[in-house]
Amino acid sequence: MKSIILSIIFLAVCIPWARCENQDGRSTAMDYGALNPQRDFTLYDQDGKIFHLKDHRGQVILLFFGYTSCPDECPTTLSKLARVYALLGPMRQKVLTVFITIDPQRDTPQKLKEYLQYFNINAIGLTGTKQEIDAVVDSYKAMYEKVVTHSSALGYEFDHTDNLYLIDEQGKTSYLFHLEDNAKDMAQVIKGF
């Protein structure tokens, strides 16, 4: 009897942990509480206005780091988010996508605005100095690296983490999406917040 109880406890603990490992072995078991524990940051939006995360309590935020000249994963993510918004129904009113540029040198507020408008979702583009942006990147334990491409005509591009953070109405990071997640599953998760 004792061993049965122990087995049940073992399974109850282990099964959720096992689920945290994706097919590609990428661990999604992350202590979300360690991500931006202050639940705030300050940057500037696409209209040059100051943006405080704490002013957006009551909204569900989908936050990611990118750059407008990113040809592949950024437009892929934004196009996917357009599908996610369509699937959210009335809830989409309170879901705000926050795109933080890691390329403030090339991404002017005007460029961010035009870029995000194109994807036709409720999105805001944020920028700041490199130091200000890096502080936010660090607080979310994201990473990026500027790569000078000598052989390619691109000049430079960025390697960067593909995390898309779901920040709940209280400003707490509560879920992490990745590039391979599909729109339907993402909408399902977002609806739970």
Binding site: S69, P71, T76, S79, E114, Y115, Y118, A153, L154
Partner: protein, 161 residues
Amino acid sequence: MKFKSLLCAIIAITASFFMTYGHADDLSKNILISNAWVQAMPPSQTTTAAYMSITNNLSKEVVLVSASSDIAGVTEIHQMSNMNGMMKMTMIPNLHIPAQGKAELSPGGFHIMLINLKKPVNKGDIVPITLHFQDGSVIVVDAQAKSEQEEEPSSMPGMKM
């Protein structure tokens, strides 16, 4: 003598033309390009990516060595890879399509980068892309510019009017 060398040159040029033509014909019959599309971009963007499936029905490997397009100043073959959550993009010199096999160019994987765009790539535009293979043959493909979001039907209530 002069006439003889001229004749030789004409024969050589004509022969090489037919040889090249023959190759291209051989390749275009056996290399199938499907689902070619280009990511439509806001007008201020100077780069975009093209995607497609390349099916090789030949019993030998074919190698895509470059691509070109009238709308781009520079065209390169790139590969995205995910290294423990870090997306890395690298330019690759060529793309091998195995015998009786397939190469998928899709978001998050291989793509053809169109750099220094000469004009905006709007939704619905047809972008001709020329694929250059190692044996010298070429295939021209018409890629349609679209946004990935168009692939799934919209469930926006506003669309039901």
